[in-house]
Amino acid sequence: MLKQLISDIKASMSIYDSREDESYGLLAEFADPGALYHAAHGVRKSGYRRYDTYSPFPVHGMDKAMGMGNSKVGYFTLAGGIFGFVLAYWLQWWTGLVDYPINASGKPFFSIEPSVPILFELTMLFAAFATVSGMFYLNGLPRLYNPLFYSKDFRRVTDDAFFILISSSDSKFDAKKTASFLTELGAVSIEEIHDHGSADGL
């Protein structure tokens, strides 16, 4: 049960379990973003869930084709912003009024108006921190080892190549059937990816 949950969370980060026989999945290359888009839609429609598309830039409309909802990064931003605001409020109130009250030209020890700049700055700072770290967390990064890096072709993914990976941990996965299905969708080439583990333990 717990194992399944962890596996699902990892799948949402595009990290898939490999099988006993080191099979990680089938990597199919497509010619262009249009072909990738339609193929992703086809993969989704035929019931696969553990798959991902890879492209050098975000392909417009791909989230919809893959049936994915809104990203959850915003919750991290909100939490970070609230934390920063509360911290800045508490910092200025506690140091000014409680721990180190000092009379500066008869001004109140603590009031909202002169506190606004720092309330604003710290809200922004922690919201930004939370956004960036939340994004990396949701993506499961840093992940220096990835079975996909064994593929020579996959190196072009950050240049001009477009791929779909169907993980062998998908319940519908069948090496032969999935491969012919991908060919039907218009894959230019198909490669089986093996998870040999990392040589240097990363």
Binding site: P33, T95, L122, M124, L141
Partner: protein, 484 residues
């Protein structure tokens, strides 16, 4: 959608409005990767070494000057009563201002869906980082006892003291350092996919490992792009008010005081528009050189430069309007000190500085009303340099002229910078250019994934109409590249 220049109903020839493509020369995805990555992979050219030699020599000058000042105290600068804020604060405001253009391009233009920003945002953001580093240096050394600079930050200490949060100087320390950190994060997040490109292209083991570490294992998975794009949007939404706040807070350093010429509510918007004005001039200066040296004329096109010139024209006019408003309000206020401060700027002993500022910031950018001039590269280069000079003098005018004659005529004096002052300013350019040259050498200076994403062939529906995408039908580019 229309794909031909013939109206089907009438059979007449119809002239469609056709936007020039953002990227020229019909470049493919791969050609863009090559064009940009090549400069980080080739053998270091002698010209780079030459430029780097000059920049790092100037950096050395800065280090020596700062060390000399730290040893002897701020007395080695031209500071004295009544001018207690001289070159250091002028330089600080100047460099913070330069930084603003980078954030404007990366955040505000992103929110406004200005796709032309993708050609210049990476290097403009890098410029922001290095400019803010220069800016942070000056208040740090200006405190005199550099080794106590951390007292400006709130931390529990044995003295049982806390910073005074009602002081604009503390706001400033927060605003500029928060700005630096957020800009650095924004820059890095944008860089990750391109670092992965360099990792995947690397042939040497060490290079693979270094870029592999920095790219954090980026694969371009759509499950990643989804979170990535959202976080980029959120960072842009956070950085937009932040960039407007930073120079507002810097202007509070002046506006919250009672010095005539400083005590003014116009300062925040006036400082922010001046910052964007000077920042764009600096981006323009750097980009004109970089696009020629690196052969990126197809990516950073004359259209991009023209758009930057338009922003310079707009913000320059806002700044000019602010100068005139200051004059009017000082007269209208009926306060003799304010009136004197205004006339002393234009006709006092520092009138030369004032008129340098007026001509460089208000008069010269007006030439950009002419399309031919704002598309002429040598002309815009000269104007950009003049604007940089003018904006430095604006800060000089604000800081020095206001201070040198305030309420008490017996305390009036004429401020003259020392050689140390001047060499420190020159040295700060060394710091800036050393980092910028290192950036150009080792990192992709154009945001690859973003430029690719604004090409028409990045749209998946592009291929619905033009077959397999191998042949690009020129007529498809009509109506602003909208294919649907």
């Amino acid at each position: 959608m229309n794909t031909a220049n013939t109206d089907i109903a009438t059979g007449n020839y119809v002239e469609f409005h056709e936007d020039e493509p953002l990227v020229q020369g019909n470049l493919s995805f791969h050609e863009i990767t090559e064009l940009v990555s090549y400069h980080t992979e080739k053998k270091t050219p002698p010209a780079w070494w030459g430029a780097f030699g000059v920049a790092s020599t100037l950096l050395l000058v800065l280090v020596v000057m700062v060390a000399y000042m730290t040893w002897n105290g701020v007395g080695v600068w031209g500071l004295n009563n009544p001018v207690g804020w001289g070159f250091a604060i002028v330089n600080f405001v100047f460099w913070v201002g330069i930084g603003h253009a980078g954030t404007l391009i990366s955040a505000i233009l992103f929110l406004f869906r200005q796709q032309w920003r993708t050609a210049i945002n990476r290097s403009a953001e890098a410029m922001t980082l290095f400019a803010v580093m220069c800016a942070l240096l000056f208040p740090t050394i200006h405190v005199g006892r550099v080794w106590f600079i951390y007292w400006s930050l709130p931390y529990p200490n044995q003295m049982a003291m806390w910073p005074q949060f009602k002081s604009p100087l503390v706001w400033d320390a927060f605003a500029v350092s928060v700005y630096f950190m957020v800009s650095a994060m924004f820059w890095y997040v944008g860089l990750v996919p391109d670092l992965a490109t360099l990792r995947d292209r690397a042939t040497k083991k060490l290079r693979q490992k270094v870029f592999g570490l920095m790219a954090m294992g980026w694969t371009g998975a759509n499950r990643h792009w989804r979170n990535y794009e959202k976080s980029y949007l959120l960072l842009a939404a956070l950085a937009t008010p932040l960039v407007l706040s930073v120079h507002s807070v810097v202007s509070f350093d002046f506006a919250v005081s009672i010095v005539p010429g400083w005590h003014s509510t116009i300062f925040p918007p006036y400082f922010v528009s001046g910052a964007i004005f000077s920042g764009f001039a600096m981006v323009l200066t750097l980009m004109i050189v970089a696009r020629t040296v690196f052969g990126l004329q197809n990516i950073i096109t004359v259209n991009h430069l023209e758009k930057m010139n338009l922003i310079i024209l707009v913000t320059g006019s806002i700044v000019g309007f602010a100068y005139i408003t200051e004059f009017f309000i000082s007269w209208y206020s009926g306060v003799p000190y304010e009136q004197y401060a205004a006339s002393n700027r234009a006709f006092g002993p520092y009138a030369w500085a004032y008129w340098i500022m007026m001509s460089c910031n208000v008069v010269f950018p007006q030439f950009f009303w002419f399309k031919r001039l704002r598309r002429s590269i040598p002309f815009m280069f000269v104007i950009a340099i003049l604007v940089n000079v003018g904006m430095w003098f604006e800060r000089f005018v604000i800081v020095v002229i206001s201070l040198h004659r305030d309420y008490l005529p017996s305390a009036w004096d004429y401020y003259t910078p020392t050689l140390v002052d001047i060499l420190t300013l020159v040295g700060s350019f060394g710091l800036f250019f050393t980092f910028f040259l290192l950036f150009l050498r080792f990192f992709p200076m154009v945001a690859l994934s973003e430029v690719k994403a604004v090409l028409p062939q990045s749209n998946p529906h592009f291929y619905d109409h033009s077959g397999d995408g191998q042949v690009v039908d020129h007529d498809l580019a009509v109506n602003g590249g909208e294919i649907n």
